[in-house]
Amino acid sequence: MSEPATGISRDDVVHLAGLARIDLSDAELDHLASELPAILEHVASVQEAAGDDVPAMSHPVPVDNVFREDVVRPSLAPEDALAGAPASDQQRFLVPKILGES
């Protein structure tokens, strides 16, 4: 498959899906590979407005780190925190293996 002008190929979409931790079907990968270049082409105009002298704005209001006193406060009870979990055991989230060991 030829490389689109924006430089995003089907292989790139496969790589992005891996980064985003989404198993996409072949049909979904094909579809996104044909759609994303058009969307990216459309949004690429932002580069025209962005001179080196313009500061980036991440938030419409100034945001600072917010600290509080390190004191114990009421929080969710373990049973509430676990109530929506797909699986739990003895007040813990039960998850599939994380390391490559069985």
């Binding site: 931790r21 994303l36 929506g84």
Partner: protein, 504 residues
Amino acid sequence: MSTDLTRKTADELAQSLAAKEVSSVEVTQALVDRIGAVDGAVHAFLHVDAEGALATAADIDDRRAKGEQLSYLAGVPIAIKDVLATKGMPTTCGSKILEGWIPPYDATVTATIKAAGLPILGKTNMDEFAMGSSTEHSAYGPTHNPWDTTRIPGGSGGGSAAAVAAFEAPLAIGTDTGGSIRQPGALTGTVGVKPTYGGISRYGLVAMASSLDQAGPVTRTVLDAALLHELIAGHDPMDSTSIPDAVPPVVAAARRADVKGLKIGIVKELGGEGFQPGVEARFTEAVELLTSAGAEVVEVSIPSLKYALGAYYLVMPSEASSNLAKFDAMRYGVRVAPAGVDDPSAEQVMASSRDAGFGDEVKRRIILGTYALSSGYYDAYYGSAQKVRTVLARDFAAAFADVDVLVSPTSPTTAYPLGEKLDDPLAMYLGDVATIPANLVGIPGLSLPVGLADEDGLPVGLQFLAPQKADDRLYNAAAALERMLEQNWGGTLLSRAPELEAAR
């Protein structure tokens, strides 16, 4: 009697409740009955809590009978968009990945509404994780526009807007990331307000794009929106982006409703090509009314608006791809094991769960956001988009140096048929061109119904924009225009909506 109650505004209901002419149980029951009769055709709700709403109503009636001092809107029922956490009530964000999830805590907005004694009728339908402009991207099926049920209600808050337009709720809460309160407001003939960013707590709002998302009111009148706005606004220490300033006096502004001497700027770039003739016609007439009431109207230019849509469609998916990383099938949400894999790893389970749980539009935006944030492309895309926000903020500041408020049509078109733009994301994204700039720079916006387009008889909205923290200016100008329009129409626009067929 019960049908009359569903048609009353929140302010009328509050007055009748205070005067004990009607009980909250009667009002709530009337709305529950209305939902039962028409929601099959509209599908505004994903979850209805008749029992809980009636229990709150009975409690408020009881407390009122005892002479307790109550909040002004106590006993007036409300619907809440399914993106806000409601303790003990399902919250799905219109997504399969959260099917059946019941939050163990309340969003601050929800907690405020509960504390003020407003019966919560239920949760309203939305595009999945608020990604969409038509409410067709809900995993639970689309909402239908009460004006014509073959058409979209707008999005992503189509459920909230449709519930208010279909007389299923006098008040609703929406959230607006790129126009998700204002655009459905325009398409359903309701009033929708995106407050100043940080003016209303975002704690417990399931985030799509944290620097853009803002909760706000959806109502049938400007005064009702002001009453709800003032109730839910204010500083929240649980939200680090919450503004620690006093709430603008929006209710007083809505009651003042006087545009004499007000300077109003028409945004040159938000009109003309791409805007439906019927939308332009109603907009022009509304501006003439404002002029006749003593406002001074001038044309202003915001040159960087041509970059706003591009900047939005980079910032939003970038933040969404990051925010939605928390849906990892470990602590909540659905967990789907990959097919044909023995003893799968957490990473494999995560990937298969996210494939099964997310819909097409969510996947599209996550992949787009992952690309825009990835090494080598960050400066060209996400970094440039953030610079556009700076340029846009400077342009808006220059415009507001000359005028008090800005106006434009809210949406370039009226409601289009369901399915028409579903396979063309770019076409759908263009529908947000007039609403997106306010989110990028954090200013407030209000959409007011200004009539019906000649070509299709569907509602048209006019958008007011004001500087940050000057939300009261929107309410003053919109209330003045609303008063003149309703005098001309001899009633509200929504009273002209076709009667919905009760479910048979």
